[in-house]
Symmetry: C2
Subunit: 368 residues, 2 copies
């Protein structure tokens, strides 16, 4: 059994649209992985529509399915991917599994996406936060957004020193080898500390009304713990940073797609290392960022090609008066994942230079 080409992915399932396992499975399969898919819910559609039907897989059912896999010798995968799990009891079942697989296979590559919230809003039960914290020491890679980093570390990411503190906490205190902060809005002091190329990307640009870009730029930061002999208190990890121009409007499933692609492009231990200054993590992050951004831009262009009434803009007041507005917007803005096949197979072919990850030289030296 080719265990490194086999992934177990535990996430939600929507019948229509692309979030959770529906955003993760196809890209992983396309890139050659046998994906074992455990669905934590079966909903007609994602919750952004404002209404949905379906059922949850409760903690007992989840444990039973995992037991079925175990009994038939089907838990021998080399990679594990977990995302949104509804509720603490089911999350405990997932955590137990991750611990078991981690203990059994020291080479297991576990990408833990600690899906808890975004933009200062938490959307899981508060009991989930400590479960995720406890689980971090089993993870190989985590892909929190900035808000999830704050939840996990208690550090507010508003300065280079805070970023250092959060990464030190995740790497040293929680023992995570590889951290990807999937989105970070830089404060002025963070901007000032960035490598010059990335700082240049942050300059506000005149954005035409027909451009897919909203005008602001986010950072992607990835950080790989240095091996013990090279590590010092003032130099904990190798940090890379990239910039991503934000696309207008909101798309669901982007984080789930990103995590799956980071895992897909993260090499197995036996692979040759990438050319310096890349690290295995920075290359995987660059590929994932590039594919995601290409799919978002093509989704944006698809939305623009629709008749105007099929793509109402976000307007909470109008949405409140007319639930159909929101539903139409959600339908229009489902990721163009299937049509993005070539963006997944050939990351970096978008030609926009997006998805570069630049070494953040001196990250640990500054203010240290």
């Amino acid at each position: 059994m080719d265990t490194h080409n086999r992934v177990l992915s535990i996430q939600s399932h929507v019948c229509s649209g692309y979030v959770g396992n529906r955003a993760a499975t196809f890209p992983l399969q396309l890139l050659g992985y046998d994906v074992d898919v455990v669905n934590t819910v079966q909903f007609s559609n994602h919750s952004g529509y404002g209404r949905l039907k379906g059922t949850r897989t409760d903690a007992d059912q989840l444990a039973s399915i995992l037991q079925g896999l175990e009994e038939n010798g089907l838990l021998r995968m080399g990679r594990l991917l977990t995302g949104y799990v509804p509720g603490a009891p089911a999350l405990m079942v997932v955590a137990d599994l991750a611990r078991k697989l981690h203990a059994r296979n020291p080479e297991l590559i576990y990408l833990l996406d600690p899906v808890m919230g975004d933009d200062n809003k938490i959307y899981v039960a508060p009991e989930c936060v400590p479960i995720y914290k406890d689980l971090l020491d089993c993870a190989t890679i985590i892909t929190p957004n900035w808000f999830e980093v704050e939840l996990l570390t208690g550090v507010k990411l508003d300065s280079p020193a805070a970023l250092q503190e959060a990464l030190r906490s995740l790497h040293i205190q929680h023992g995570v080898p590889h951290v990807v902060i999937s989105s970070l809005l830089p404060t002025a002091s963070v901007s000032a500390a960035l490598p010059p190329t990335i700082r240049g990307d942050l300059q506000p640009n005149g954005v035409s009304p027909t451009s897919p870009y909203a005008g602001d730029t986010q950072l992607v930061v990835c950080s790989s713990l240095l091996p013990e002999p090279e590590r010092t208190v003032g130099n904990v990890s190798v940090v890379h940073v990239g910039s991503v121009k934000r696309i207008r409007g909101y798309f669901s499933g982007v984080g789930d797609l990103f995590s799956a692609l980071v895992l897909a492009h993260f090499p197995s231990p036996s692979s040759p290392p990438p050319q310096e200054p890349d690290t295995p993590l920075s290359r995987a992050t660059a590929f994932a960022t590039s594919s995601v951004q290409a799919i978002l831009i093509s989704t944006h262009h698809y939305v623009q090609s629709l008749p105007e009434q099929e793509r109402p803009e976000t307007d909470p007041e109008l949405d409140l008066r007319d639930a159909e507005r929101r539903v139409r917007r959600m339908r229009a803005r489902e990721l163009r994942l299937i049509q993005g096949r070539d963006y997944i197979l050939n990351p970096g072919q978008g030609g926009k230079g997006e998805g570069r990850m630049i070494p953040w030289e001196g990250f640990w030296a500054q203010h240290a």
Copy 2:
């Protein structure tokens, strides 16, 4: 919304392995379809393992999910695919949906795989048979095996005349435009009536122990109802036939993969017709047969590459004494679907000439 590139597939889900929706979804996605996936069960693995865990989506839950899709305007697909549905109540829900979509969209392409049994064994509740019979007049394409044709028509397929009678029943009495008999073991009288090239394929060949082939050859028969003005009592449809060398041993999910590929390659009404003597159905059947056969052969070679204890041969007595034998065999023999990406994208590249569909000239004239 590109409705013809959108499929709703209602089948079973297994977390590990490839049957039902797990055999259908990836190939359809790879060939460019947005697939909406409704899972009728979530089981750890397919039933061939002899043990499994998981849950069924009961009739009420199924109806509720479909209602969720309806309420959010997500039932606008141009194609519908239904396969194994456990139990008559859930099947009734699926049948109601098919009727509704068929009534709403006269161009709907509905591939109904009437999964009821194989090799003279029925494996659904007997109440399912009349539900399938009633549903046939909504189907665009059906893909029964020979045993399912017998269940649907009451005709034993042992002669050319019986084949005529069964196809007449399906086309005329039940109103099915396109019929694919996915496997048929030819009797002597059927063999004698075949086109010479296909009859030649049936000659028993010396099979070496290392060959993937078991030694026998099955037929694939497809039949498209002639339009009213050309149709006569003695000339009902255009019939094509192909031969498929049977691969050693049993593989699960083959029929589900085949149906999905027939649907994927069946052109939308606006497509230009294929070159004669091909029909849209014969071409889709040829492509599907070719891809399936290539994947089966590569799966066979994969199985042979495993250590001997990981691939115990079928032996019901030994299996009874040691349940692990059967589990190991099932694990080893899961379809190499992900690794077969290029066989799906480029059908007919296998180079074995398999997947030809030959016009069965004079099919309706003989014995008529």
